[in-house]
């Protein structure tokens, strides 16, 4: 019984081999070199990987960049691990990824062993309802509004009405950026903590006394963008630094250590001119080179 089974198996196997050979014979000629070519490329594809790790706020920027990069370099894979700026910086310093991503500048002790390259700037717009008469707030006033020290719009250039403070959930990169620039970390008294930029815009648009913050690129006509210290946020004012509520998107690499060829190629791509359009598409503002 066992023996016949084995025999049958061998028979089937040889038949399969023969037909495979026949098929290969069919496809010989012009098609064959192309085929071997693509198969070697495929093996490369699984090998060349550029790993990035860090800031969750940079998800969109990295997404657009890596997508476009992979389109051009089909043999490379770009991975992104959204762990947060601190974790990303740590990962690159421990060599667990090629490029660390951070939405804050490096601290002094971090800068000793790491290099930071700004690839984009994120402008955070402070928005109010279109019916609000406030036009211009200082960073200090904004901080006071968010900590509850100013609780009525008449103390901030608006008409009488209790301020409704809208913010993002504790993990939001925008919240982190906003709170660290206005120095209101852990001191904000929110009326609402919403989980997306769209929710913030929607809520501010529907409440005449609300104030919120959102990435500049996400702002729509349904809300009014405030000037900060007399400067309206725009691509130009963010780039020249006159608009205060902004932060850098940084790629972090190890000092004095060469990136792998693939990682270096992606790095050059992300910091090159051709990346600008992609960065703008992703809602951030490219740096002036």
């Amino acid at each position: 019984m066992k023996n016949t089974g084995k025999k049958r198996f061998i028979g089937v196997f040889t038949a399969a081999m023969l037909s495979a050979a026949l098929l290969a014979g069919c496809s010989s000629g012009d098609a064959q070199p192309a085929e071997t070519n693509s198969s070697t490329q495929q093996t490369q594809q699984t090998q060349a990987t550029v790993s990035t790790d860090g800031s969750t706020s940079m998800e969109k920027v990295i997404g657009y960049l890596s997508e476009a990069y992979i389109e051009e370099n089909k043999d490379t894979k770009v991975t992104y691990n959204p762990t947060g700026s601190g974790a990303g910086i740590q990962a690159v310093s421990e060599g667990r990824c090629d490029i660390g991503l951070s939405s804050r500048d490096l601290k002094e002790d971090e800068a000793k062993t790491l290099d930071a390259t700004v690839i984009a700037i994120d402008g955070i717009a402070v928005v109010v309802n279109p019916a609000n008469t406030a036009e211009d707030l200082s960073v200090e006033q904004i901080a006071k509004i968010y900590t509850g020290e100013i609780s009525n719009w008449k103390d901030a250039g608006g008409s009488d009405g209790a301020v409704v403070v809208i913010g993002r959930e504790a993990a939001s990169g925008t919240r982190d950026g906003f709170e660290s620039i206005t120095k209101t970390k852990d001191k904000c008294k929110y009326n609402q903590e919403l989980t997306s930029t769209g929710d913030v815009i929607q809520t501010v648009a529907s409440n005449p006394n609300a104030i919120g913050y959102a990435s500049l690129a996400a702002v729509k006509d349904t809300v009014k963008v405030l000037k900060v210290d007399g400067v309206a946020p725009s691509k130009e004012t963010v780039q020249d630094g006159t608009y205060k509520i902004q932060r850098d998107f940084v790629m972090v690499t190890k000092k004095g250590e060469k990136l792998s060829d693939d990682a270096q190629k992606f790095f050059d791509f992300a910091t090159g001119k051709s990346a600008d359009a992609l960065i703008e598409k992703a809602g951030a503002i490219p740096v002036v080179r």
Partner: protein, 292 residues
């Protein structure tokens, strides 16, 4: 030959029996796994924080420099939200059930039942969306508040969400009341309204009670819809203040939490699970009493 057929049939029977038994125990298995998982992952954080601090401290700030893990705001918000939904939703649901069962013309009855079952099929995120765009601004203007995203808006949304279970279970209970009871009442000269409220509803009491418990279960476990209308800030609840519930506390922080914060979220889920267990025991008790 005949014997062999019989043997084959027996074998199939055996195998199918095994498969059925396996499927039958699937539910038990899942419940057991979830229970064990919640207790195993929920207990350590409670031990670390301290049961008293965890349940009775009023400050939840896991990401601040000096983290605090008090879930009393979530517990009270969940209890108040559920209680409010029951207070508003049950009378409306009960009246609706009475209307469908006793007063509605036959044709309308079908339409109403259809509408109720449709209401129960609407995804909770849709309730949340409608609440966010209609109820929140409406609450703001009606009560003259600076902001409409508060406990009250959540209560309104929850009361609408519990309606289907309250209506359908109560209606079944009222329909099950023997006709003789009502006919006797009517024969004695009581009006239809008197009959319904003095005879039918009291006779269907335990069924209606079951519908209320079911409503409580639905309200306390809801996350998505209330997250969108309650403001989602971890305050001690006020009727017109922004609140966060047990469910939304887990949902809004789970994606990024780590360390003790993550463990504490499992503990919150455990507390919620215990609430649900209690509600289920009450429900079983109510149904059992009904049978006796």
């Amino acid at each position: 030959m005949k014997n062999g057929l019989k043997l084959g049939a027996k074998l199939v029977e055996r195998i199918m029996g095994g498969i059925f038994t396996l499927c039958g125990f699937a539910a038990v298995l899942f419940v057991a796994v979830i229970t064990v998982f919640l207790f195993v992952s929920g207990i350590p954080a409670i031990g670390e924080i301290g049961l008293g601090d965890f349940l009775l401290c009023t400050v939840w700030s896991p990401t601040s420099a000096n983290p605090q893990y008090g879930i009393l705001p979530f517990i009270t918000a969940s209890v108040m939200g559920t209680a409010g939904a029951i207070i508003i939703g049950v009378p409306i649901g009960l009246m609706c059930a009475v209307y469908i069962s006793k007063f509605a013309p036959k044709k309308l009855r079908g339409v109403l039942r259809e509408a109720v079952s449709l209401l129960s099929g609407i995804p909770s995120v849709v309730y949340g969306l409608v609440g966010m765009i209609i109820i929140v601004p409406a609450v703001r203007t009606v009560f003259g508040l600076p902001d409409g995203a508060n406990l009250f808006s959540a209560i309104i949304v929850l009361s609408i969400m519990i309606l289907p279970s309250v209506i359908s279970v109560s209606e079944t209970a009222i329909n099950a009341v023997p006709h003789e009871f009502e006919e006797g009442s009517l024969a004695l000269g009581a009006t239809k309204t008197e009959t319904v409220f003095k005879i039918s509803v009291p006779a269907a009491k335990s069924g209606i009670l079951a519908s209320v418990v079911l409503g409580i279960g639905r309200a306390i476990g809801e996350a998505m819809a209330v997250m969108m209308v309650s403001g989602n800030v971890a305050n001690m609840p006020k009727l017109f203040g922004s609140v966060r519930f047990l469910t939304t506390a887990v949902a809004s922080e789970m994606s990024y939490s780590s360390g003790l914060q993550r463990k504490a979220l499992f503990s919150i889920a455990l507390v919620l699970f215990i609430f649900i267990l209690i509600i289920n025991f009450v429900l079983n008790f109510v149904i059992k009493r009904k049978k006796d």
